[in-house]
């Protein structure tokens, strides 16, 4: 194989330019006072993508079960907030974008160092110890923030409001690119090997501790950078923003997207963040309606499970039956909703927005029942994969399948 530097560099340069232009465009589209809500949504989506993809590097790709990712997010956020309020207040006021960039950098360094301190001892252990340690770290960091006067205690800290969809989306893209390139590199296989079999990896000469610590520190650093950007997007940080719920939400994104799949994690992060956000606007409904919908979902899931277990026809027949099951579920939902509303006990009004969290839970349960490997499984988005979906089989993907 001939290594073509010009071509290699060309592709890289084009990718970088496209990515930067895309972020600038997003930033432009999101400008203006009337779009502040969408700007906030877009920023949070970018932050969650960064968090989920960085946790995926630890949990999904390297197979180390960390459940305290919010701790590093929080360390980054408080680092940014505290520095902007004290030492760098002048810079934050005069050159906000430059400061935001530096804040992300400082956040990444602080969280990366914390990751190193936590990771070095705990990653030497095998099995579930890391889960216990990271769970503890999540709590410890929150408790410190709650009790430290200089960190605002339970009230939280105010800081400069600096919004930049550009930097946030750029961070998300950089995080995705770093993870992807790491996987494609010579060392990338070692990360996957550690996930698959630690003993065999060690026997191959993989330095287990180094691979795990690298993944952990890199993942923590990206979470820290995301934290610093979050602090300035919201202009305020407080302990509840980084509670255990947040750690679990990020973890859910990774599992739902397909453990190890960067593409899946990215999509799951956006979806899981948007569902509860969009449902804030739901109107008041009669009790019978959500009950009917729930019954419809149960019917559809039972039918789909049945097909998965006992139907052995061709793919198109299977698709037909699956769509049919979903159809039946929808019809049942409609009918049951109409019927139940006639019952006086189910006529009371209830705020639709209350169903935000239940809907999230139901989505997860349904997905885990029907597709336990996550939306994407171990797969990644690639152009040859798209070709295959469109029916044009390329020889490369043929073998991979």
């Amino acid at each position: 194989m001939q290594f073509n530097f010009g071509k290699w560099f060309g592709t890289r340069a084009i990718s970088v330019i496209v990515a930067v232009l895309f972020c600038l465009l997003l930033d432009k589209v999101m400008q203006g006072p009337d779009k502040s809500y969408y700007r906030f949504l877009m920023s949070l989506a970018g932050i969650y993508v960064t968090l989920a993809v960085s946790l995926n590097l630890i949990n999904g790709i390297t197979g180390q079960f960390s459940i305290g990712h919010a701790a590093f997010y929080q360390i980054g956020a408080y680092t940014g907030a505290v520095l902007a309020a004290n030492k760098f207040s002048h810079l934050a006021a005069t050159k906000p974008l430059l400061w935001l960039f530096l804040a992300a950098l400082f956040g990444a360094i602080a969280a990366g160092l914390a990751g190193l301190i936590v990771g070095l001892p705990s990653l030497r252990l095998k099995g579930d110890y890391l889960a216990v340690v990271t769970l503890g770290i999540g709590e410890i960091v929150t408790i410190i923030a709650k009790n430290q006067k200089s960190l605002g205690e339970a009230y939280g800290l105010s800081t400069a409001k600096i919004e930049s969809v550009f930097l946030i989306s750029l961070l998300a893209i950089v995080c995705i690119a770093v993870c992807r390139n790491l996987l494609k590199s010579a060392h990338g296989l070692a990360f996957l090997a550690v996930r698959e079999d630690e003993v065999a990896s060690a026997a191959m000469g993989v330095n287990l501790t180094r691979v795990k610590v690298t993944a952990f520190v890199l993942g923590s650093a990206f979470a820290g950078a995301a934290g610093a950007l979050y602090a300035h997007t919201k202009a305020f940080v407080s302990p509840p923003d980084f509670s255990m719920d947040v750690s679990f939400l990020i973890l859910t994104m990774v599992v739902l997207g397909g453990t190890g799949s960067i593409t899946g994690t990215t999509i799951a992060a956006v979806v899981l963040f948007l569902i509860p956000e969009k449902m804030r606007d739901l109107p008041y409904v009669q009790m019978g309606t959500p009950l009917g919908v729930a019954i419809g979902i149960i019917v559809a899931v039972v039918l789909l499970r049945k097909i998965q277990e006992s139907f052995h026809g061709s793919a198109s027949e299977r698709l037909g039956r699956n769509l049919g099951s979903v159809g039946i579920g929808i019809v049942v939902a409609f009918v049951m909703a109409k019927v139940l509303v006639m019952v006086p006990a189910f006529q009371s009004m209830i705020n639709g927005a209350l169903f935000r969290m239940p809907v999230l839970a139901v989505t997860l349960v349904v997905l885990m029942l029907l597709r336990p490997q996550g939306i994407f499984g171990h797969h990644e988005f690639s152009w040859s994969w798209v070709q295959k979906l469109l029916g044009k089989k390329s020889p490369e993907t043929e073998v991979a399948a």
Partner: protein, 234 residues
């Protein structure tokens, strides 16, 4: 020369290896035979650094191995094909072989060795881009040995290569081990299938509940009445 001296390994209170001393000279095939639970795999895993002994030493060409990490031991030229094959089943044959050469920086040498392994195991060449988990047991064992060869080791540590394989495949695997040895590789092989192992071994040790009970040349042990009774089916 690989040497263990008075090696003691414990799992909790259980004495898995009791004062085990063996030597492996360059160019030899040395077999460790014994029944289930005799401590054969424990011995190999201790040599390759996956288990720490409580006392005793393992040395290779005079260098002490018991204080080293597994990856440092691989660097010294010992390569371990672990029990149960332990290939990376979600990866392709190619990726498995690449991981075998993980510590090597000489790209040309790695490519040459890849060709060598594929030449020795034509089945792996056919399945080069295939997910290794979908291969048969025999093919997986060949991959495990091929992967261990990719680090270009001086000593190959093989743990139960015949496990779960059909008789004709066992013959094939043992022929390959013999060929590798003829090409200059030193082999330390652990086997329950005593008959086959003793046939190809220059020297062999018999382990029983963590203790060495017999040693001698392969042929001697093959005809030893005690070994015959205990391990070769009378």
């Amino acid at each position: 020369m690989l040497e263990t001296k008075n090696l003691n390994v414990f799992y909790g209170a259980i004495n898995a290896l009791n004062d085990v001393s063996i030597t492996v000279q360059p160019g030899e095939i040395v077999a460790i035979i014994g029944s289930n639970g005799a401590g054969k795999s424990t011995l190999l895993r201790t040599i390759s650094g996956l288990i720490r002994p409580r006392s005793g030493s393992v040395s290779y060409n005079g260098k002490e191995l018991t204080t080293l990490q597994p990856h440092e031991i691989v660097k010294l030229g010992l390569s371990h094909a672990p029990e149960g094959r332990r290939i990376f089943t979600n990866m392709t044959v190619e990726e498995n072989l690449q991981l075998g050469a993980y510590l090597r920086k000489d790209k040309a040498g790695v490519a040459a060795d890849m060709e060598m392994v594929l030449g020795r195991f034509p089945r792996l060449k056919e399945r080069f881009k295939q997910n290794s988990g979908t291969m048969s047991g025999g093919e997986q064992q060949m991959l495990a040995i091929g992967r261990a060869l990719m680090s270009r080791p001086e000593i190959l540590l093989l743990d139960e290569p015949s496990l779960g394989l059909a008789p004709f495949l066992i013959t094939e695997i043992f022929n390959i081990v013999k060929d590798l040895n003829a090409d200059g590789k030193t082999v330390l092989i652990v086997e329950q299938n005593a008959n086959r192992a003793l046939e190809i071994a220059h020297r062999a040790y018999v382990l029983e509940t963590g203790e060495l009970v017999l040693q001698g040349s392969g042929q001697e042990l093959l005809h030893d009445p005690k070994v015959k009774e205990a391990y070769l089916g009378g």
